[in-house]
Amino acid sequence: MTLYRQCASCLPLTGGMIFSWFLNPGWLIAFPLLGAVLLLFFGKRIGRFAGVLASGLLGLSFVLGLVLFGAQLGTAGSQRTAYVHLFDWISVGSFRVGADLTLDQLSIVMVLVVTGVGTLIHIYSIGYMEGDPRYPRFFCYLNLFAALMLTLVLAGNLLLLYVGWEGVGLCSFLLIGFWFERAKASNAAKKAFLVNRVGDFAFLIGIFVLAKAASTLSIPVINALAGPAPPGPAALLHQPLTTGIATVASLLLFAGATGKSAQIPLYIWLPDAMEGPTPVSALIHAATMVTAGVYMVARLSPLFQLGSALTVVAWIGGLTALWAALMACFEFDIKRVLAYSTISQLGYMFLANGVQGYSAAMFHLVTHAFFKALMFLGAGAVMHSLAGETDMRKMGGLRKAMPITGYTFLVGWLAISGVFPFAGFWSKDAILASAWHQGQYALWAIGVGTALLTAFYMSRLYFRVFEGPLLVPDGVEVHDGRVHDAPITMVIALVPLAFLSVVGGLLNLPPSLTLEHFLEPVVGRSEVPAGLTPWFLASLALVAGLAGIAIAYMLYMRPDGQTRRAALYPRLRIPIAAAANKFYVDELYGRAIVLPGKALASFSAYTLDARGIDGLVNGTGGLIAAISDRVRRVQSGYVRNYAATFLLGVVVLFSIVVVRLATG
């Protein structure tokens, strides 16, 4: 399959080979990995400098990412892919897997998001985690996460991708349970890991299916096999995958994505993951790790398109978006609202992937990273100032009390609600347009409905926390209308993200559609409707968003909002109670899966292992002891008994002689 590989370890981009050793994408992973290793072994000695070190290294990766991006822009569109072979990893018989990296337009987008937003969050954490006794360890985990996420993004074969996939799951576990002294945190970490594991298992089976069917794990090769045969002599080598295999494999891989990216049915870990420190929620559970599933689907789009899995992807995405939005409407914990919001927006991205609007999905991924990370960091600042309070019923009027946090959060709120001209408007619109254009009107309607709900619950959050009269929990000091605002390190992160949330739409403005055209060589052309229809649809979505804001305004901002709420709730008591209790999904899983699992484990441990196997082993010992207890009585101490034994032996031996004589 060498036709599909370039085995040179240099990019065909730069002017000469001279610079290639530095412009190797492997460095992107190496910098944060170095940080993680240094902090692992010398963390105590590095001490307070750990934050700067970690941020600096990831920042270095970001700079390199920009350079590589520039190099890509400098070459022609179809040649922007580079394959880098770092080293031979597994070589067993005819099974060869190398540490191969693939850098193309899709990966560079993810790289810039991960390193860029990641660096900002690292800087934010310097202030947020100050004073924590395990400060260096936190940055070690963050850097490790960044390294593994970049491994996932840059991976050129499924095995390396799986390494990154599992690795970020591990880092998620470590970081959610960072304050493991709290039972809720360690339980949440366990839950995250176990639920992810279920998805990862399906992912692994998918990898096996592909390995068997395609005889290779290389992503470019699999994509080529899933696509049409190339013209010319190469067609002879092209053995296409069957649609059945493609469907099965892509469904299995998508099942893994439901775990990692918190879609139905494996989303239950993400709300509980909010027990971790807020920078963790921002980085991992908003911007980067949870988007790995979206990236994976886009990366393997030829495979998904070959089979019939995309329908499943789109519908699960859409339904998850709606489902999570409903639950977010009745949450009081500000971080959990943001968590459900993340699940919902991820649903949008999968919806986009499912209707073959891959660049729309990536566009929304990027803008979502901006405003969601912004809002998480803002929530973190609020918690930081209000001594860790997260209940929105105990907060109020914070925009005037914490101006920087307040105004940046305002930007984020408008962006996610899809208000023109902020970033979210453009990206959400792109998705809805793709859905409409593919004829998926039902999904379009779900998307619009979810947009309304999104606007509603985010406005509810914003109005209750940042508007209205000043309300702070007991014990928080107020100095002439102001609360202790975010320190400078946290501000450094908030402001750029706010800026990006405002101008992020420029990435893919119609009619120029820069991002779309940039990604075209990789994910293919997605049909964008022309003419009046898109503007009409866009305005519908905008109206939905504004309606959501208006409803929230009526219910929460106006003084008589309280009475309106009180009047409304009894009528919708049952659905509201269901949504407020997360539709009892956790309880259902607990009864149906966890309890039987525990029963099985208990049975295995106590009956099979303790009584069965130990019984067998101990029983053998006991049996031998019992036998020897009987047999030892032979040694009676009486010489005459021993003499009798001699005689017995003699008689037996003699009988041999007798028998031989008798038989001749």
Partner: protein, 102 residues
Amino acid sequence: MTSVAPGYYLVLAGLMFTIGVVGVLVRRNAIVIFMFVELMLNAVNLIFVTFARMHGNVDGQILVFFVLVVAAAEVTVGLAIILMIARRRNSADVDGVHLLRW
């Protein structure tokens, strides 16, 4: 004169040997047991002499000579030991020395 077939002597020796064995197992006095051992040795002597006759040379009889000498030495030392043990325990009962048991 016509002699008796050697088989009968062998049968006699075998019977005496067996009686010696049974005696060792059944009797309790140490010296009596020793005497039954001597009985066994005597039976063996008879067997050697019979075979000497069957072979037609005196080698078997020389062996008997040696058995005799060794039996003498053995009886000497054995009885000395029995004497010592029996004096200590004031009894010649072999069942009394049964401490090396389970």
